[in-house]
Amino acid sequence: MDREADVVYRYDGSFEGFLCCVFESVYAHEIPFAILPHSSPMATLFPEKLIETDPAKARRVDASLPKKLGKGARSCVAHAFLSGSEEKELLILRFLRLGYRVGPGVMFMAGHKDVAPVLALEKAVCGEAHLLTGFVRFQDYGDFLGGTITPKHYVLPLLRLHFCQRLPSEDFILYDATHGAALLWQKGKASYAQLDEAPPFPEISREEAAYQELWKRFYKTIAIAARENPALRRSLCPKRYWVNMTELKEEL
């Protein structure tokens, strides 16, 4: 049995780095008190262990997931890791340690105290990504389309395939203001960029403004006044998304 160790792991915040934390935990027979990225300002009283990111160790842990935990575990963990939650590392670690013990059945133990939280993380991440496939708004800047999102979780990797498939002949920039990252799609090639501030989008053209007006008018017209239901709208389309949505930002 692993002991609950009074130690804090510090790692570089990458998925590879996290897999190395898993490696350390397994071979030190311990569950740390917390796992924090270098960027986290949180100070603790416990001694810290600096976990180096070693690609070889990361690969070994990565390869063990489908072998020991069955298929489905790898994508579940990868999705959960995109979460913006501060506890995600520890929750995923506990799930993996349980998985190594019980084997492939772990994916089905949805009611277990170490499994349910990871499934919940995955659900939150994939849920936000799904909402954003609909709620993203692009503006036409002439040479390219540009859009901004402010998600809780780092969902750009989950949006990539959707938008790149959908708009194969366009170029676009999708800027994630929360995480300072952007997805670029240029001439059929996708890439990510780290941006400290919003990309300098140019002024919109008159044509673009006209389409925005048409869309806003359509949006207002399609609602049935006799059925007005603001609570329902808020629950299906939470207000935190409105700031980036052409038709809703004025209602904030």
């Binding site: 349910a116 708004r137 366009e170 007006e213 048409l214 949006y219 049935i224």
Partner: protein
């Protein structure tokens, strides 16, 4: 007339069409084209009434040759009329789509000159979209009853989903309110589409690249509250439609008075939203919970209970079948437990192979124990003995009813309305009263 004005008129005329779903078909993108479709569908925004906006929902024209009493676009109604050209509509769809406003197009139309003429115009617009703009997004098209079957077939090869509005729940009501439409004329394209889809499925097994006919299936909608049918009649009709025509969805639309007419409810009647909600709940029971219409409503009680959702209503009338042992019962029976849905039932069936489940596990799996606890037993919990019927009734009563306000309840149970208008103490009294009502029926 400029585009803004046209869009306003033609979206306004289309807003009473219910379906705005973009589900049922998976189609990836392709080089040189625009668009894709995903089977679960995708909501792009939600309008002020809380309805999903997934498609650009417009009429091609609202100039109508018919005079259906319940319809805002009827010939005798004095309102501005407009028509898109196929080119305008295709261009607007693409421009909205590029900006990720929409998932595709929902194209319906009033009957301009004749059903055939209207359908030909719709085909022209869709051909532009599919063949010239190479649009691979979602298209939902209305088949106009009375149109030539050959035209409807062409429409089905361009659209993902076709729908034919059944309009009203009985032939008698149709005869009274929509003299230009006949039940047979509505059902004919429905069965044509069902047959064509069957044939298409066989073709596709032989030739993978055969053109697809309405791959996302067909749906229909009907207006409730404009005519005197009972909920049971409506639900039986729905069940028949699902079985006979393999419909993907039946939509209900609470009637909103759009005309002063002695055959219709008065103009100030509120739309029966609570009734519509109950119909959708029952519709879900038919499609995902393995219920039949006869189990949900019978001749003794042909209408829904205002305070209980149909599943809870079934459960309290069949207390002899509970408690259900969560660790043994088959999935059909799990689905009958209030508080367990298709997702949690699936999780239970998979998880119990790994070990017996207790209340804690069930809670983490998403089972709503507030309701389920009275109907189950599991590891460490041998059933909710000692609870009075009153506490069960209190757990099951649908509190949404009271949130919806006096107006909705007055359509169902008028004796409760005065309590609700009396403010907070009245609300508490009404809840108490509703609990007693349920308790008495148990």
């Amino acid at each position: 007339m400029d585009l803004m004005e046209k869009l306003t008129i033609l979206a306004d005329s289309a807003k009473y069409d219910v379906a705005c779903t973009s589900s049922g078909v998976d189609r990836g993108g392709a080089a040189g084209s625009i668009g894709s479709a995903v089977a679960p569908g995708c909501c792009h925004t939600f309008s002020a009434d809380g309805r999903c906006v997934s498609l650009l929902k417009v009429l091609l024209t609202n100039v109508c040759a018919y005079d259906c009493a319940y319809c805002v676009n009827r010939r005798s109604n004095d309102l501005p009329r407009a028509a898109f050209t196929p080119r305008e509509l295709a261009e607007l769809t693409i421009q909205f789509y590029r900006r990720n406003y929409i998932e595709g197009l929902f194209l319906s139309s009033a009957v301009l000159i004749s059903p055939d003429h209207t359908t030909e115009l719709m085909i022209k617009a869709l051909e532009l979209l599919r063949n010239e703009y190479h649009f691979r997004g979602y298209i939902h098209a209305k088949a106009i009853p009375g149109a030539d079957p050959a035209l409807i077939h062409r429409l089905g090869l361009l659209a993902d989903r076709l729908s034919v509005n059944i309009e009203l729940p009985s032939a008698a009501s149709l005869g009274r309110l929509a003299p230009d439409k006949k039940k047979a004329a509505i059902l004919a394209p429905m069965s044509q589409i069902a047959r064509a889809r069957d044939e298409n499925r066989q073709e596709l097994t032989v030739y993978r690249s055969a053109p697809k006919f309405a791959p996302a299936g067909q749906s229909t909608q009907m207006i409730v509250g404009a005519t005197p049918e009972t909920d049971r009649q409506i639900l039986k009709l729905t069940e028949g439609l699902y079985q006979k025509y393999q419909l993907k969805r039946v939509f209900y639309s609470a009637y909103i008075p759009v005309a002063q007419d002695s055959r219709l409810p008065a103009l100030n009647t509120p739309p029966p939203l609570l009734r519509e909600h109950r119909l959708y709940q029952a519709d879900w029971l038919l499609r995902f919970y393995d219920f039949s219409a006869d189990e949900i409503l019978d001749d003794a009680s042909p209408n829904f209970d205002p305070f209980l959702d149909p599943k809870c209503n079934w459960a309290i009338q069949h207390l002899d079948q509970f408690p259900v042992d969560v660790n043994r019962a088959d999935k059909t029976m799990l689905l009958r437990v209030p508080g367990i849905g298709p997702k949690s039932a699936g999780r239970i069936v998979r998880a119990r192979r790994q070990g017996a489940l207790g209340l804690e596990e069930l809670r983490r799996m998403g089972v709503v124990l507030k309701r389920a606890q009275y109907f189950i037993c599991c590891r460490g919990f041998s059933g909710a003995a000692g609870f009075g019927r009153r506490s069960i009734a209190a757990a099951l009563v649908d509190s949404g009813v009271f949130a919806a306000g006096a107006q909705q309840l007055s359509l169902f149970a008028p004796e409760f309305a005065p309590m609700l208008t009396a403010g907070r103490p009245g609300l508490e009294a009404a809840k108490e009263e509703a609990v007693s009502w349920i308790e008495k029926r148990m």
